[in-house]
Symmetry: C2
Subunit: 252 residues, 2 copies
Amino acid sequence: MQRYFTDATLTVGAHATLNSTVEHHAVTVLRMQVDDQLEVADAQGHAFVTTITKTAPLTVRVERPIPQSHELPVAVTIVCGISKGQKAELIVQKATELGVRQVIFVNTQWATARWLPDRAAKKVARLQQVAQSAAEQSHRDRVPQVSFVPLLDAVLHMEADAKVVAYEESAKAGEHAQLIQTLRQQPRSLIAVFGPEGGLAPAEVSNLNDVGFVNVGLGPRILRTETAPWYLLAAISTYTELQEEQSDRVNS
Amino acid sequence: MQRYFTDATLTVGAHATLNSTVEHHAVTVLRMQVDDQLEVADAQGHAFVTTITKTAPLTVRVERPIPQSHELPVAVTIVCGISKGQKAELIVQKATELGVRQVIFVNTQWATARWLPDRAAKKVARLQQVAQSAAEQSHRDRVPQVSFVPLLDAVLHMEADAKVVAYEESAKAGEHAQLIQTLRQQPRSLIAVFGPEGGLAPAEVSNLNDVGFVNVGLGPRILRTETAPWYLLAAISTYTELQEEQSDRVNS
């Protein structure tokens, strides 16, 4: 069933009007009609099955909650050095499918591309749309938030249960244990920093380490700047969503 | 250090001449000179540090083996339904970074795109180049093999220790345990089938199930056709490369 998002908070039995972008997609593109059903996830990250009662403006009756969560049990923030070309869109789209909660782009010392603050707002708005589309398509319960900070310093004091930095030199040195050790602590939130194509400067890694970011290796192969966050998200899903189910079965 | 591949089998102390594509990249693009070092992985999947002794034709002296393997401990074959546009290139590039051993593209019933056998050879040759570049960049010890088969039937009787199919309906039904159960058997080879955008037809899944392919869910979010094989490869890496290191440490 098609899934959309609303900024409202939904309750079963009530009606809700969806915004014009959703109306255009559902009514004009997909030609949905009165009595057709669609899923709507609300501002609280709760999803419901709804029935269309009116198409202009698009209005739905909230039928029943969808109990199964589609959210990673760890709220993951990825912080990505700016890359050239269309990589930011690809990072956001795939990271959304893989369950990311927040994506922050940041200018770093060794990056070969840089966003100017006055043009970043437009880029972020475009990337937020990419996140929204990918969240609908992958049946997320929340749309990840995309933002930009001009300096890595802004990331140093963000709060999270676990903080890691994907440092290529750690991977090359054969570091394979730290990510799992971090996940064993059952963090409810995790922030992970990824360098751009040129990597992070040693001074940047050192600054991150000083405030508690731990270097993690992501397997023995050298991953491109966009692949590394996807690997991390898939690894967290594997550890928390596939294994947990597994231990449930073993215990039952 | 830059990594290249050779079809030869290398031995320490011997000299080897690399092919003209490698010569162009190393000498013309990167401006490497006599006495510069580069890594070369040979036909056996063994990698060595080498020193350039001549630039035309590019000739190296084999100095020493690189003991650390960059290959997934499970030889993974992914079989992908044909998708529209440039997705095949993206699938091959990222799957190579994530450790795939073989990528097979196949026409399926519900696909919205189809490769004609007479044009497939050219596509496969191009994709093989993508695999080679990605293997160099990610420091693989082997270049994954790319191929095309016109019918899914050709896949039914391929040999592998484990055979899975990523079936969207299984994921929707909340199947979260099967992949880990499969990996617990410590397969040395695994073949995984992924549908195109339209998904696999139930009859196709049924045919796969009949010959021992097991339906696996890849977490609660709905992944696009290109994202699903990346998730699988990252999950296998997490289970075999991150966890194994972990248990080594626990035991030592």
